[in-house]
């Protein structure tokens, strides 16, 4: 390990342990992957391979998706393969830029909601209102699914069932 990385790790470990954390340092390889889907859209991932057989994958472009943990290194390549296929398919749509923008907005929405709860004392009614709005969006997504033509069959959707 690079001397300076090691020094930095030692400091972090000391601070985190004193904060009360259990810290395990796992050496591994960080991999950055990037695909040019077209001239404007690039899809990028970052993942970590380590000896503990725990693999963390994150898509960082065109919009971030939450960290996932997988059992084997092969899973990572399969997931990236399908993801890239879906994006190559999706760029054919005229709505691709709208799709990316909405995803950004949704991501920002989650961050704003987190700030709202962590920084302010929110009354219960506000939660109920937000919950109702989310249910409306869920319903809209499901309705849209019902009346739209399916375009990708490489695998079944992970979150849109039925």
């Amino acid at each position: 390990m690079n001397k300076y990385v090691q020094s930095e790790t030692n400091q972090h470990v000391m601070k985190l342990i004193q904060m009360g954390a259990d810290v395990t340092v796992v050496s591994g390889q960080m991999v950055y992957v990037s695909f040019d889907i077209n001239e404007e859209i690039k899809v990028s991932y970052v993942y970590n391979i380590n000896k503990k057989n725990r693999y963390f994958l994150e898509r960082i472009r065109p919009y971030p998706i939450s960290v996932k943990e997988f059992e084997t290194a092969e899973d990572i390549c399969n997931i990236i393969k399908i993801d890239v296929e879906q994006f190559r398919n999706a760029v054919k749509s005229h709505n691709i830029h709208e799709f990316i923008n909405i995803n950004y907005e949704l991501h920002n929405l989650i961050l704003q909601f987190e700030d709202l709860f962590l920084y302010y004392n929110i009354d219960h009614n506000t939660f109920d209102e937000i919950k109702t709005d989310i249910e409306d969006i869920h319903e809209r997504i499901n309705k849209a699914k019902e009346k739209s033509k399916r375009v990708y069959f490489g695998k079944e959707p992970d979150h849109l069932k039925g």
Binding site: K3, M14, K15, I17, G20, V23, S27, K51
Partner: protein, 424 residues
Amino acid sequence: MQVDHVIIGILIFIIAYIAIVSEKIHRMIVAVFGAGLMIIFHVLSQEEAISKIDFNTLGLLIGMMILVNIIGETGLFQYLAIKSAKIAKGSPFKILIYFSVITALASGLLDNVTTILLIVPVTLVISDTLKVNPIPYVIAEIMSANIGGAATLIGDPPNIMIGGATGLGFLDFIVNLLPLMTVIFIVTILLLRFIFRKTFVVSEESKKEILSFDEKKAITDKPLLIKSLIVLFFTIAGFAFGELIEIQSASIALFSASVLLLIGRIEPEDMLEKVEWTTIFFFGGLFILVGALESIGVIEFLAGKVLIITQGSISLTTTLVLWMSALLSSFLDNIPYVATMIPLVNSLSEGSVATYEPVWWALSIGACLGGNGTIIGASANVVSRGILEKHGFKISFMKYMKIAFPLMILSIIISTVYLLVFYL
């Protein structure tokens, strides 16, 4: 030996040396490339080249690197640092002294760079908590590491090389150098305390925060720590009594490393990955480069010239070697310097009725303490500066030199008096 081989050998050595000193290309690549050229141009054969490598030095370095890496991961350093900061009740001056003592003691047993990599991160956390500038602490630690490393056979690579070449053992280094280094350490730390007397202002709140640290949490693997300390104890005992049991230090270090890997149930791949192979290969290449110079008679020629200057006087040779080593090691890597000086001193001592032991001590003291003179004088200094810069603290060449160079010169004056009084 043909004349063209002599010229080629000298040219390869000089170019390699300049390249190593300039640090434009990694020193390991230069040393191995230069060693390869020596063989390709038939300055020496492959068999001769391999016979020039001091495998005792390499084995000792590898064994100690494995041991130290394992110990480092147990959290021992953090424990000692937090405990001492709490004993000091957050007083910045006491912490400076305690951390310097820990660094000096540790670097006597461990490699200086490793010691720095363990102590400086802890220092940054403590200085951050105290809201004080970490630079005075790190300067004290750099100097303590170089002084502590000079006190033992295994503390600094020049000593390992000198021990390997001369047969001077662990106890010889302790008996001859530890008292001197103790005096130099005390003088240096007291002067540093004086130099930095106006630097530290610490609030009571910060001191309380230090007291809230729990040193016990720092120990990440207590059973491994106990096993490591037991193995380290027997390793040092092995070094001390190595001559009696007729086992060389490399065998002791490598055997100890294998014992700790065995009883600690440590994944060997993980530990071997942490061995600084670039350093090991650098040493291997360097031994061949210097060995080639020896084979073609250059060392013998230089020794003859030195004898003309010193007239065979041990006092003059000792003083000359001490000051030349200190001044050169302030600016240059002391490892290639010592590697070149070892065959030279060996050649000087051939046929001499007087003992050359003081000259060996002068070489060791000069090469190790000289490193304190500038921020580029030793690997520990360079690594410390790198860590500090990554945290936004800059030690300029001149700022460090203004403080450290006079202290280094003072340490060499003390050493000159010591050598002249006790050996000459």
